[in-house]
C-alpha cells in the first residue's frame, strides 16, 4: 500500500517528499516564528503526512503558512533536507484557492497586493504609493504615520513614482502570469 493521494499530490506539485520527514523537530527548534504559529513546521509536516482531508484543512486554514518568512532556517538545518519554505509557498496558493484564509493572512496578502500593483503600474516599487494603497486595503490609516515624515525628510520617500519606459512589458508579464486565470495565483 502506498501513501495516500493527498501526500503524493503534495509531492507532485512541489517536489517536496513529505514522507521523508522523520519528525525530529529540528526545524521547529530553530524557526524564529514557531511560537507564533498555530502549528510549528514539524507539526505541520506531520499533519500533511497523515494525508487526511481534515488535517490538510487544518493546515490550510492555519496562520502558520502566512507567518512563515521563507527565511529557510529550517531547510538549512533539516537532516532530511526537506524544503518546507517551498511547501509553504504551495500551501498558501491552495489556501487562497480553497478560500480557507486565516485572519492573520489579511494584512500580509493586502501588502503583497499593494506591492504588486505598484510594480504593474510603474515597473518599480513606489513606496509612497505602496503605503497608501496598503492603508486603503487594511483601513489602518494610523500605522506608520510616525516614520513617514522623517523618511521624507531624510530623502527616503519619493513623492512621485519612478517609472520605467517599457511599461507595456509589465502589463504583459502581469497579464500572462498573475492575472491569467490559468496560472496558480495566490
Amino acid at each position: 500500500m502506498g501513501h495516500t493521494n493527498k501526500v503524493s499530490d503534495l509531492q507532485s506539485h512541489t517536489g517536496v517528499e513529505v514522507m521523508r520527514c522523520y519528525q525530529c523537530g529540528k526545524c521547529t527548534a530553530g524557526c524564529v516564528l514557531a511560537s507564533e504559529m498555530n502549528y510549528p513546521p514539524s507539526y505541520l509536516m506531520r499533519l500533511l503526512q497523515t494525508g487526511t482531508k481534515p488535517n490538510l484543512d487544518k493546515v490550510l486554514s492555519s496562520n502558520s503558512i502566512w507567518l512563515c518568512l521563507n527565511c529557510e532556517n529550517c531547510l538549512g538545518r533539516c537532516p532530511m533536507e526537506i524544503d518546507i519554505p517551498k511547501m509553504m509557498d504551495y500551501l498558501r496558493t491552495q489556501a487562497i484557492k480553497e478560500n480557507k484564509l486565516h485572519p492573520d493572512s489579511k494584512p500580509i496578502i493586502a501588502f503583497h497586493k499593494s506591492f504588486l500593483d505598484s510594480i504593474k503600474n510603474t515597473g518599480r516599487l513606489y513606496e509612497m504609493g505602496l503605503v497608501l494603497s496598503y492603508k486603503f486595503r487594511t483601513f489602518n490609516f494610523l500605522q506608520d504615520l510616525s516614520i513617514a515624515p522623517s523618511m521624507y525628510l531624510k530623502g527616503k520617500l519619493h513623492l512621485l513614482p519612478e517609472k520605467i519606459k517599457d511599461r507595456r512589458s509589465m502589463k504583459r508579464i502581469f497579464g500572462q502570469t498573475i492575472e491569467n486565470a490559468k496560472t496558480d495565483n495566490k
Partner: protein, 279 residues
C-alpha cells in the same frame, strides 16, 4: 574595471544611502558601474509569495536586459534582489520553465550573466585596492549581520557558509575593525513583514539587536536594505520590546569601507539613517 549594476527599488528610495555608498566606494576603487537600462523591480517577496511565474518573469526581464547590454557580470547590492536573481537563474535552468518565461517576456534570455553580491564585488575586484587606500582604519568593534537572503539557500547561492558566515567579518577586519562572535548572524529580522506585521519585525529584530548590544557591538554591519530598514527605521517599535533601548547604528558594509577609505559621511549617506551614526 567595468561591471554591470542592478540597484533595485530600495536603493532608489528608502535605502538611498546604500546606493550612494556603493557608488562612492566603487568610484574610489576605480570600478565603473554600468546600470542596467530600464530595469524593473525584481518582485521581491510579494511576487514570490503570490505567483511563481511572475516571480520568475520579473527577475528574468532584468537579466535579459543585462544580456542585451552585453553585461557578463552584474553586481546586485540588495541581498533580497540578489537572492531573487540567483534563484531565478537556477530555476530557469529547467527547460520548460525557461521557454515559458521567454514566451512571456518576448525577449531572449540565456541566464549567462554572472550575478554577484556586493561582498563578492569587493572581494574579487577591490581587496588589494582597499588595503592600499585605507586612510582612516575602521577601528570599531562591530557585529556583522548577514540575515537570510545572502547565504540561504546555500545549494543555489553557494556563497558563504550558512552557519557563522565569515565573508563580511573578513572584510571588516581588512579595514581595521574587530568583529564579534555572536549568535544572530543569520537569524531572520522579520524581512518583508515590515509594514504588514511590524510587531513581529520588532520582536525578531529586537532579539538580534539585543544580542549584539549585550556583546558590546558599536554598530551592526549589513548588506541588505530590508535588514537595514527593519533594524534602523523600526527602531522605535523595536525599543518598545527591549528592556534597555538600543541606539546601536546599523550601517552598510560599503559605508564602513567608505569610511576607512576616507570618504565623508555625506558622500556615504550616513545622515539618512534614523539611528544617528557617529563612527
Amino acid at each position: 574595471m567595468k561591471i554591470g549594476f542592478y540597484p533595485g527599488c530600495s536603493l532608489t528610495g528608502s535605502s538611498r544611502e546604500y546606493n550612494e555608498s556603493v557608488v562612492a566606494v566603487a568610484k574610489a576603487l576605480d570600478i565603473e558601474l554600468i546600470e542596467i537600462n530600464d530595469w524593473n523591480c525584481c518582485g521581491a517577496t510579494a511576487a514570490h509569495a503570490m505567483n511563481e511565474e511572475l516571480s520568475l518573469s520579473l527577475p528574468a526581464r532584468i537579466m535579459a536586459m543585462a544580456e542585451k547590454q552585453g553585461l557578463t557580470e552584474v553586481v546586485v547590492p540588495c541581498a533580497a534582489c540578489y537572492n531573487r536573481l540567483k534563484v531565478t537563474q537556477h530555476e530557469l535552468e529547467d527547460d520548460t520553465k525557461r521557454s515559458r518565461v521567454i514566451d512571456i517576456l518576448k525577449m531572449p534570455y540565456q541566464g549567462s550573466s554572472r550575478i554577484i553580491n556586493v561582498l563578492q564585488l569587493l572581494e574579487m575586484y577591490g581587496a588589494e585596492n582597499i588595503k592600499a587606500k585605507i586612510t582612516r582604519p575602521f577601528a570599531h568593534k562591530v557585529a556583522c549581520y548577514y540575515g537570510c537572503l545572502l547565504v540561504r539557500p546555500h545549494s543555489i547561492l553557494k556563497f558563504d557558509r550558512v552557519e557563522d558566515p565569515q565573508s563580511m567579518d573578513t572584510m571588516i577586519k581588512m579595514v581595521g575593525g574587530t568583529t564579534l562572535d555572536w549568535a544572530f548572524k543569520t537569524e531572520c529580522c522579520g524581512a518583508g513583514f515590515s509594514v504588514s506585521r511590524t510587531d513581529l519585525v520588532a520582536k525578531l529584530s529586537g532579539n538580534i539587536l539585543k544580542d549584539a548590544a549585550d556583546r558590546g557591538a558599536e554598530a551592526l554591519i549589513v548588506a541588505c536594505p530590508m535588514c537595514q530598514s527593519n533594524l534602523d527605521m523600526r527602531r522605535g517599535a523595536i525599543n518598545k520590546t527591549l528592556e534597555t533601548p538600543s541606539d546601536i547604528p546599523v550601517i552598510y558594509i560599503t559605508q564602513a569601507i567608505g569610511l576607512a577609505l576616507g570618504l565623508s559621511a555625506q558622500e556615504l549617506g550616513l545622515k539618512r539613517h534614523f539611528v544617528t551614526v557617529e563612527l
